[in-house]
Subunit: 170 residues, 2 copies
């Protein structure tokens, strides 16, 4: 249903920012920005035998060392077969170490090796550089708004995962 009406006197505020045209611009901004967001790591990875899926795995293993396969599955939102293909190559290539759990031996705990950490640094440096530049250009207030809107765009499960990681980090 289209929402193209004029600014209604809804609680005294203008709702012009909720017109279909504004929403469409938001959608398109999201589309183009995500391309920029992944462009630099993608470029680096294209030279190796890795892709975006490897980057995501490496990122979250670095973020939560010792995480289990199941936990990673929930964060990434893919099937175990899909993740397993990626993890297998990363383990074979010596970027990720998989250790049998001590308390629960069914679990595998995942860690980056030094080699893995090196690649993680390379990738996240590139991605952070762009994010830093965008943040700096936009300023702290814009950044706060950026994060508020993104968080409101997530499903509740993702919000939980995101918040948990945020608190883990500090």
């Amino acid at each position: 249903m289209s929402d193209m009406r004029a600014p209604s006197p809804y609680s005294g505020e203008s709702l012009l920012f909720l017109t279909d045209e504004q929403l469409r611009q938001g959608i398109e901004a999201m589309f183009f920005a995500y391309r920029g967001f992944t462009a630099d790591p993608d470029r680096i990875l294209s030279d190796m035998a890795y892709g975006r899926a490897h980057h995501r795995a490496i990122h979250f293993i670095n973020r939560a060392p010792g995480t289990t396969v199941n936990n990673l599955l929930n964060i990434l939102g893919v099937t175990k077969q899909s993740l397993n293909r990626v993890l297998r190559t990363l383990i074979e290539d010596g970027l990720v170490q998989s250790l049998v759990g001590k308390v629960d031996k069914r679990e595998r705990h995942l860690y980056l090796t030094d080699k893995g950490k090196t690649l993680e640094q390379t990738l996240s440096d590139a991605q952070r550089a762009r994010m830093r530049s965008a943040f700096r250009d936009a300023g702290p207030d814009a950044v706060a708004g950026f994060r508020t809107v993104l968080e409101a765009m997530m499903d509740t499960e993702m919000q939980r995962a995101y918040t948990r990681l945020k608190e883990t980090g500090q």
Copy 2:
């Protein structure tokens, strides 16, 4: 390369929002939010024989009726072979009409049929609903910041494409 220094008295402002931790949270917010952003259309499309690429093509053909294949190529940032496969199925299924250019017969001008417009409505209604909800929860100031940061995250080419579309819309 890390930028982990304490808030410097840079022009009197705190630069705490540019710490690595803040940047990483921005990166993760982007990752999770994009999943939410595409979730609803993806769900709808999974029942048909279409995917996200079809959605993107339909979106931009709707946005700029009569656009050429080449123009669409630049906006979407994929190879023409990749786009062609998508366009072929859309044309076969009667969602998109391809007309040989009158001035330049090499060009094909693309239009949505009524059937195509119907699907476009269904998809964009779903996507807009989530965006509207997120925008409403976040408020107009946050939305402005959101768009500022996203724009700063794009490559200059994308910024141009984005701005051109924005002006086209109104």
